[in-house]
Amino acid sequence: MRRLCLLLFLMTPVALAASPAAAERLVTSLSNHRVMVTSNFTGEELVLFGGIEQDSASQPRRSGYDIVVTVAGPRQTTVAFRKERMLGIWVNADSRVFEDAPAYLAVLSNRPLDAIASTETLRRLQLGLDHIPLPQRASVNIAGSGSDDPFRVALIKLKSDQGLYSEATNGVTLLAATLFRASIPLPAEVPIGTYEVDVRLFADGAQIARAPAPFEVYKSGFEQVMTNAARDHGVLYGLATAIMALTTGWFASVVFRRD
């Protein structure tokens, strides 16, 4: 333990010394920081603009810059069920609980991730749908299994089918050498909550800068009132719905009365 501390202590100045050498800085701007879900919401596309600021210390990069943008939606504990045939019918037999899995996940980049950095680097930085951590709550292993775990694969597949998980290797466009644009597709089913946008700058296969750009998806007045009422005042909401039903029925019988 003490040796480890010593080692870390010795490494600190090296790390500090290394950062000024890579002196690029990321400047980002989102087209909208608050996405409002109204009654006619059918999805939206957010645009993220970014610039790479260089200073006198930055050296020219041999292969140019690469950008990887990871957008992670609000965390939701999600259960994945697997069906099995029992007595001739398909029943939910086995399940895994994914603790705080992002409800929305988009990995956008200007070219394929494996061309930007090595698999080792991507795994270490937890970049891409293959490497994103999706911890499972289970007695077997809490840390989550490898990227070939069938439940993990199924979660990503089902979420991708809903348009909630995506990986786009053309999601980022480099407009100029130091200027880029990323489009974040938000489908209509997009969950409400806070979204973290993690912009990473790569050069020569290594990450050299990183910047956050969070945004929020929220419901508009009417939608919010309904959601709150249903959640916080269930009985009153139910009574109101029931009375609405009876009134509609009564109204119809008056309107269509024939005798």
């Binding site: 939608e223 309904m226 119809a252």
Partner: protein
């Protein structure tokens, strides 16, 4: 015309939902049933989660049975005493059903329970109705008179104690089967999002020998009260009732029901029963295939309950 449903959390086309309401309302008006057994699967097919579909359809059925019940009330075709006795069982059945619904949702077996219940109920009831109406049609073809109600024919049900007299229906029957039927209807209604009219009407006719004159009106009042209370209970326990969805369904449903009722009056009773039987059977077979055929994906996702 898209509209975002606040509880279902997804946008739907208002016209599609409205059209579904009209279509199911037409069928329900024609046969004197709630139509929930058609509406719930249709909503699930649109991508609305089974829980929200079941919970919201209860409101829709309450509305359509309300408009039906009022017109039967005007014709004095409702046995109020029988209603109260059925309701006594129905409310308890609904409460137990909502509780079981919440429990099954927690352990992830809600879909399969809804699926198996649908298959068993629809296939059995559908087959019985088809068989009965075909026999009636054949009998009519052969020129024999249609089977009359035999007041003297008693079954074991009529031997039970706690007998009560229901004046409007002119029956004298034990309270136990009346409560039992009420309980069963409330129970399956809450779990499956159906009013249970297609179950209640045959049970009242064949088990309790309630005359056809009062059976549909009485069934509508029972459906109305169980479904209105199921709406409240679902809203209070599961928070899954989408009032906006329910409102669109209602608007279509009550309109369709009026035209359905007119169409239904022009048809002969046994033809009507045969059609309804075939419809019920077809939906049941569709559900059976769903359970037996290998699904497209073996996996499904569900949000964990925050309070679980």
């Amino acid at each position: 015309m898209q509209i975002y449903l606040p509880i279902a959390d997804l946008p739907v086309n208002v016209l599609v939902i409205l059209a579904m309401g009209v279509a199911v309302g037409f069928i329900s008006g024609m046969f004197g049933i709630g139509g929930g057994f058609l509406m719930t699967p249709l909503l699930i097919f649109l991508g609305i989660s089974p829980g929200v579909a079941v919970a919201s359809v209860t409101g829709h059925i309450a509305a359509s049975s309300m408009s039906g019940a009022i017109s039967y009330w005007r014709r004095r075709a409702i046995d109020v005493a029988l209603c109260f006795m059925l309701l006594a069982g129905g409310i308890i059945g609904t409460a137990v059903g909502v509780w079981l619904f919440t429990f099954l949702r927690g352990i992830g077996q809600l879909d399969i329970t809804i699926g198996v219940s649908y298959v068993l109920l629809l296939d059995i009831v559908g087959a019985l109705m088809v068989a009965e109406s075909v026999r009636a049609i054949l009998r009519a073809r052969a020129g024999k008179p249609t089977e009359l109600r035999r007041p003297g024919s008693h079954t074991w049900i009529h031997g039970l104690p706690f007998k009560l007299r229901f004046k409007r229906s002119r029956i004298y029957v034990s309270a136990i089967p009346v409560w039992g039927i009420g309980f069963l209807i409330g129970f399956v209604g809450a779990i499956m999002g159906i009013g249970g009219g297609f179950l209640l009407v045959p049970m009242l006719i064949y088990l309790l020998r309630v005359p056809t004159a009062t059976v549909i009106g009485t069934s509508m009042v029972l459906t109305l009260v169980t479904m209105a209370s199921a709406t409240v209970m679902h809203a209070a326990t599961n928070h899954l009732v989408d009032a906006l969805l329910a409102l669109i369904l209602m608007a279509g449903g009550v309109t369709g029901a009026q035209f359905g009722a007119r169409a239904g009056q022009k048809m002969r009773g046994e033809r009507l029963r045969l059609l309804l039987g075939l419809l019920v059977l077809a939906v049941g077979i569709r559900f059976a295939l769903n359970l037996v055929l290998t699904p497209e994906s073996l996996y499904s996702l569900r949000l964990a309950d925050p309070d679980a």
